[in-house]
């Protein structure tokens, strides 16, 4: 299996505190990889380093064969690393399709072209992305009035506008109702399969992680303490101690399947 991204010995120190210590992993093509761990373990710091928002203290990140060291977040985005945020970031006064068009224009460097009508740019491509996430019927509604679950799907469409090889999703289902969570992750799973992209996501809802991750990595105090299949992680005593707890907060039925 090909690796989309390879991370070697990534470290980040904030004024004497080692937030991330010697983290190495690879994400394979078509894989949904979950990064879980206690609050403050360094998950967001890892994401920020992969995306170029934070410079690593040491260590390297390779996208394919290219070392991402020193590249700006924008350059990294152009090379095919996308990101969705814990708190949705869309333009509320624009329509759904316009939000996607904006993202496409930005990717194609048309954002600051004068003498062209923005609303005519990339509309078919935008509609195609909306169809992919099942939002084509709501294309001309304003973002401000969308239901939260729909906003999340729109955000996914926007994140796909740069045709990413790797998508980083930071708590994608935060604030959603249980059924909506499953729907969003199923949709993500289908897109991953169809487009052969990879997803690295953080999440605190173990129902979501256990149902949708192909592989799980556990970060604790900046270090990877475990990595493996859903079943391995579920039954790892150390992971239970520092993160999962006694199991009263996720569906028990799945434990018997596993």
């Amino acid at each position: 299996m090909n690796s989309v991204i390879k991370v070697h010995n990534l470290c980040k120190t904030f004024g004497g505190i080692e937030a991330v210590k010697d983290v190495s992993f690879e994400v394979e093509t078509g894989q949904m990889l979950a990064l879980i761990g206690p609050n403050g373990a360094g998950k967001s710091t890892c994401f920020n380093m992969l995306m170029g928002q934070l410079p690593a203290t040491s260590g390297e990140v390779f996208l394919g064969e290219e070392n991402l060291h020193g590249l700006t977040p924008r350059d990294i985005w152009r090379r095919g690393v996308g990101r969705t945020f814990q708190i949705t970031a869309t333009y509320p006064s624009m329509t759904v399709v316009e939000n996607v068009q904006m993202a496409l224009m930005s990717y194609h460097r048309r954002l600051f072209k004068v003498f062209c009508y923005a609303h005519k740019q990339y509309r078919p491509q935008a509609m195609e992305l909306l169809a992919l996430v099942g939002m084509e019927n709501q294309a001309d509604r304003h973002c401000a009035i969308l239901a939260y679950g729909d906003l999340k799907r729109l955000e996914l469409a926007i994140a796909l506008s740069n045709a990413p090889k790797l998508l980083l999703m930071d708590e994608p289902t935060a604030g959603m109702a249980p059924k909506e969570r499953i729907k969003l992750m199923q949709l993500t799973g289908e897109i991953v399969k169809q487009r052969q992209i990879s997803v690295l996501f953080t999440e605190h809802d173990m129902d979501v992680v256990f149902a949708h991750a192909h592989k799980i990595m556990v970060l604790n105090r900046g270090q990877l303490i475990a990595s493996g299949s859903v079943e391995q992680i579920r039954n790892d005593a150390k992971v239970q101690e520092v993160y999962l707890g006694g199991g009263s907060l996720y569906a028990i039925e799945e434990q018997t399947h596993a």
Binding site: F14, G37, P38, N39, G40, A41, K43, S44, Q86, A147, Y148, G149, E171, A174, G175, M176, A177, P178, K179, E180, H204, D205, M206, E241, V242, Y243, L244, G245, G246, S248, L249, Y250, A251
Partner: protein
């Protein structure tokens, strides 16, 4: 202890809460359930008087509070933990906690730093870090801990488990049960049904600003059509 009587709340001209009424007795833990945008947070804001209901009355500890400003309501022993983390980013964890301190109240064991650190070990480790240096989940813990420093008689928790590691959520469930034993009343809004079931005695379901259900979890389990219609579980 708390009684809402046909309250109607608006954001500008938008009518959000429609004739919402419910009672919470002393020592009870009640879960407010419902989808995004159903009106859970608006209910909390209305109780706290951060959003004044246009009509209806709210009674807390036998006193009508719907004409009082929010800070007076807070001083009466109503603690509110909003969903968005409102910590002081330039203050340390200890300073943030100190800001929330209120005098001890009769019948409630006063909270100390040690008791809070036992509940949230992360905060002990970060006690001298500034608010902005905390992770999202740690900020959530700090908001809850700071509100507890006010020794509330009634605690309103808006989606407390969101973004928190399962092992800490379990501890939180234990704490809520302990709070209950100490006589603190808790109303929490939740999307995590596992957690709500673990701690709450009763479920109130809100949908489109109207109360749709107000009974025990056992009754909720007996009526799957209610769950399917309003909770999207």
């Amino acid at each position: 202890m708390l009684e809402l009587n046909t309250i109607n709340s608006y954001y500008g001209k938008a009518h959000i809460l429609h004739d919402v009424s419910f009672k919470v007795s002393a020592g009870e833990v009640v879960a407010l359930l419902g989808r995004n945008g159903a009106g859970k947070t608006t209910t909390f804001k209305s109780i706290m008087q951060l959003l004044k209901p246009h009509t209806g009355s709210i009674n807390f500890l036998g006193q009508e509070i719907s004409h009082l400003p929010a800070h007076t309501v807070a001083k009466m022993g109503l603690g509110y933990v909003p969903e968005e983390r409102r910590i002081f980013t330039d203050l340390t964890v200890l300073e943030n906690l100190e800001v929330g301190r209120q005098p001890a109240r009769q019948g409630i064991q006063p909270w100390t730093f040690d008791a809070l650190f036992e509940l949230f070990p992360n905060l002990h480790e970060r006690r001298n870090n500034r608010g902005r240096e905390l992770s999202g989940g740690e900020q959530q813990m700090l908001t809850i801990a700071r509100t507890l420093m006010g020794n509330p008689k009634l605690l309103l928790l808006d989606e407390p488990s969101e973004g928190i590691a399962p092992v800490i959520v379990e501890q939180m469930a234990t704490t809520i049960t302990q709070l209950k034993q100490q006589g603190v009343t808790v109303v929490l809004s939740e999307q995590n049904l596992h957690f709500a079931r673990l701690v709450a005695d009763r479920a109130i379901i809100i949908e489109s600003g109207e109360k749709k259900f107000d009974q025990s979890f056992a009754q909720l389990d007996a009526e799957p059509e209610v769950r399917d219609a309003y909770l999207s579980v």
